[in-house]
């Protein structure tokens, strides 16, 4: 499985309140949530994002509230993968559980800039920056998590067990 797209870049500690503010949590419809994705940190994101684009951030991405609406909104906005130096633990679980590909790679997170064209190979964990012509080795998922990802989410995985 591969993803390829243009980068939207953010810094440290992007919290789930800015990914999807609480005032929109009276809905759980992915399409509706996507309309307000990143609104409090990057109001232009929703008009700029194209299907397949990639989100890159620094440390502790997705910290704060456990709201699964956050990865749901990111996925529904068209983002194909989130790369970060580190993820907050609840966001990490949520992303795997709903089938939003994420990858931890400090080197990539620090080097990649906004608008770079980036390709990710999920099987090998390799990240290739086409704009800068540089590669970074991301952390591959433990086998157990790969099984959840391959099943396209936790519920399908449980059904298959």
């Amino acid at each position: 499985m591969k993803a390829c797209g243009r980068v939207h870049k953010y810094g440290d500690n992007v919290d789930t309140d800015v990914i999807i503010p609480a005032r929109y949590l009276n809905s759980s419809d992915p399409k509706e949530l996507a309309k307000s994705c990143m609104q409090d940190i990057d109001p232009e994101f929703v008009t700029r994002v194209k299907v397949g684009d990639i989100m890159v951030a620094n440390k502790n991405f997705g910290c704060g509230s456990s709201r699964e609406h956050a990865p749901i909104a990111i996925k529904a906005s068209g983002i194909s993968c989130v790369i970060a130096e580190t993820f907050a633990r609840i966001f990490y679980r949520n992303a795997i559980n709903i089938g939003l590909p994420i990858i931890e790679c400090p080197e990539a997170a620090m080097d990649i800039e906004a608008e770079d064209e980036v390709e990710i190979d999920f099987d090998s964990g390799m990240i290739f920056n086409k704009t800068k012509n540089r590669s970074y080795q991301g952390q591959a998922f433990p086998e157990f998590m790969q099984r959840i990802i391959k099943a396209e989410g936790l519920m399908n995985y449980i059904n298959q067990k």
Binding site: A22, L25, C63, H69, N94, N97, M155, I158
Partner: protein
Amino acid sequence: MGMTMTQKILAAHAGLESVCAGQLIEAELDMVLANDITGPVAIHEVEKLNMKTVFDKDKIALVPDHFTPNKDIKSAEHCKCVRNFAKQHDITNYFEVGEMGIEHALLPEKGLIVAGETCIGADSHTCTYGALGAFSTGVGSTDMGAGMMTGKAWFKVPSAIKIILTGKPSKWVSGKDVILHIIGQIGVDGALYKSMEFTGDGIKNLTMDDRFSIANMAIEAGAKNGIFPVDELTIEYMKEHSKKEYTVYEADEDAVYDEVITVDLAALEPTVAFPHLPENTRVVREAGEVKIDQVVIGSCTNGRIGDLRTAAKVLEGRHVAPGVRVIVFPATQKIYLQAIEEGLIQTFIKAGAIVSTPTCGPCLGGHMGVLAAGERAVSTTNRNFVGRMGHVESEVYLASPAVAAASAVTGKISEPAELGL
């Protein structure tokens, strides 16, 4: 190799002799929790499963507390979805408006979680119950839904930071100041993926309410859980609130920790976290002149009876500064009633504060106290992220009930000492 307290609880629930940090395990769950925001997403996910019945109707708690009393039609639909699911599956611990409270104050009060148990909740502050010596952690809706149907969850066994608390805090220093101080020291990702295991002879000087506040904000340092050892006070609390049997686990003497931090409680001062991260802490004495528009006293962090008593002590015989709006929200119906019986509510109202029914509303900018552009609040809640309480250009300063009440009187960030207390 020795195990931490958290590792021992996880090993016992995974049916294993021992576990080590980094190991992936599947653990049995004693309690699974959701609210009116995370519940509907979990219920929708559950519909994808082949299983049609919940694992144990007594081990699930559904608490509509965030946008309740229903703030708008969409929220009312969410609450209805949770209510219908609870009815359909005959969920024992569904708490309707009238008997509900803020989930993390309500569950311990109802005796639904005790020492040695495991709990997941689709709310990040589920880590609160670590105060009782339980393993308890926040998850998302899908994990919660799976837990509700299977009674199990997968975990990566965490490593731990040992936090040794020594000494006795001074009069106006509370659990909130302790946890703000620690987060200020280690940062909002200082305990990422890890347990924060509290220990030391200073713990005996902390009330259960203090310990709940501290464990509650473990997530604000990125931790998987925060956990306290079980002592006489914990046992007294559990006996008063629960009929469940508890199990006491202690960390091995040779348990391995990534880091050891010592905090002298006697040296702490009233502390405030400046916008927009809980790690931006300063002692109130060095906060400078920060004028405020609103004060919020309550939440799963600081809406317990001890918190209200402290706030009332500061507000007794005083009045809120002109132009400052003060919202007090007791965390549960029981706490609310107790506050009425003790005369605390009279004190608040005479001082010019308003008192709200239990709700998470103001903490997350949902309802009951949303901030406008440029407004500043001192709040006893747990997060001060951009836009957390309303407009992206509003500001939240996190503090204890004592500091929040003193600030209400002066109209700027203040500590009780400034009022001669």
